[in-house]
């Protein structure tokens, strides 16, 4: 029905759009603000969504990168992410999807075992990033990293494509992942 496809719209001039999907509104808002504060040659657009599918009534630009934010303190956010993943077209997973796990710092509050998220990221062949979005310093660093990845996914960095980046990130993971 309304499945997100990476190439169904024309790109706008010098614009890179990121979609953050997650149940924690406050954290997504803070991450979006940190990203917009970064100075970047392209124009950044950040869209926030609680879950997919997105309402089709809104006119939105082409989405270059989707980041699924999973809160390790809440099983609900994991279930929400798993359901949203069904509404993303398979060709998005060639480097244009990323998982972000937050809340690993406070071990006593964790309801999800870390390896559940690792397995999820491995199943969808996408990189998994860890960041405690509540901590300002980590959030700013993660925002810088995401802006860089977004620029590559939007094609604004000459010589590197989203697929290149994905294979670069994956080769640093051990071969033991294949045992899963």
């Amino acid at each position: 029905m309304s499945v997100l496809r990476p190439l169904d719209k024309l790109p706008s001039l010098n614009t890179a759009t990121i979609l953050l999907v997650g149940t924690e509104d406050a954290l997504l808002q803070q991450l979006a603000d940190s990203m917009l504060k970064e100075d970047c040659a392209s124009e950044l657009k950040v869209h926030l969504a609680k879950s997919l599918p997105l309402p089709s009534s809104v006119n939105r630009p082409r989405i270059d990168l989707i980041v699924f934010v999973v809160n390790l303190h809440s099983k609900y956010s994991l279930q929400n992410t798993e359901e949203s993943l069904h509404h993303v077209d398979a060709s998005f997973f060639l480097g244009k999807v990323c998982f972000l796990a937050t809340g690993a710092g406070r071990e006593s509050h964790c309801s999800i075992h870390r390896h559940t998220v690792v397995k999820l990221a491995h199943t969808y062949q996408s990189p998994l990033l860890y960041c405690d979005l509540e901590v300002e310093g980590f959030r700013v660093t993660m925002a810088q990293r995401l802006v860089r990845v977004l620029q590559i996914c939007a094609g604004h960095v000459p010589g590197v494509s989203a697929l290149n980046l994905l294979s670069l990130l994956r080769s640093s993971e051990g071969p033991s992942l294949e045992d899963l």
């Binding site: 303190h73 006593s108 509050h109 309801s111 690792v118 033991s176 294949e178 045992d179």
Partner: protein
Amino acid sequence: MDSYNVPESTPSASSRPEDYSVGATPLQKRLESIRKQTSFIPTPPRRKVPQCSQLQEDVDPQKVAFLLHKQWTLYSLTPLYKFSYSNLKEYSRLLNAFIVAEKQKGLAVEVGEDFDIKVIFSTLLGMKGTQRDPEAFLVQILSKSQLPSENREGKVLWTGWFCCVFGDSLLETVSEDFTCLPLFLANGAESNTAIIGTWFQKTFDCYFSPLTINAFNLSWMAAMWTACKVDHYVATTEFLWSVPCSPQSLDISYAIHPEDAKALWDSIHKTPGEVTQEEVDLFMDCLYSHFHRHFKIHLSATRLVRVSTSVASAHTDGKIKILCHKYLIGVLAYLTELAVFQIE
């Protein structure tokens, strides 16, 4: 390209333990276990449902009755250096002197304060999982009654006990001089716990840290304890969740009849004697979806804080109360595992 890497990695991983097992020093064994942990992503945990171990036949139910129905605060403890079971009387004396000295330190002269205390160290027989586990021991602070009356024993002011149940993964990596008793349970005034902790840390070069139980482990406990067969249920199965909201957090409490909980578990459980991650998740998801149907609240977005069953009850701050002596060893085994995990 991915399948090309696999044949190379697996033979080398399997030959490494054989190289090191003969004549390996504890340090090498330790490094090996850490290396194993970082290179392999752990498979979903499967745990044995706590059964009565054969060692428990030695345990006198009367002797361990005082361990039940009491709230214990949990700590994890690093191995004790040069601890000897034959010196228990000596330790009692030293600890007694230490406590008296500490209590007199900061206080002005307070007449009538119970400085007449007695410290007793004793071993607890049978509180272990395998023969390799070190013997558990108990420390009690009793107040010496002023009057020479019938009850010369005095009131128990503080109790603490150290144990290790199925702590094989820690026992392997530690040398002879150390005694591994990673789980410490305390009941009594917090000031006493602090003083005794300081004495142990100074005498045996170990380190205490409070053992917290996160929501993930609490849901495992809920599933494992619901799986236990109990003759008659002494308490309802109760869960408590904390909702993170401002300004104050709300608490949601959910009580189920224990037989219903057991029936739900039996319908989920497949392999006898083993509990898997999927079964635990399914058990909790059933509770969550039932609650959602009635109240439209997603319990999975909240944090599980307390679990109470007929076998035991646990709070996330590291407080536990064991109600059933049949599964005492099983509960201790899981707690030992958590303590060992925290130490490592």
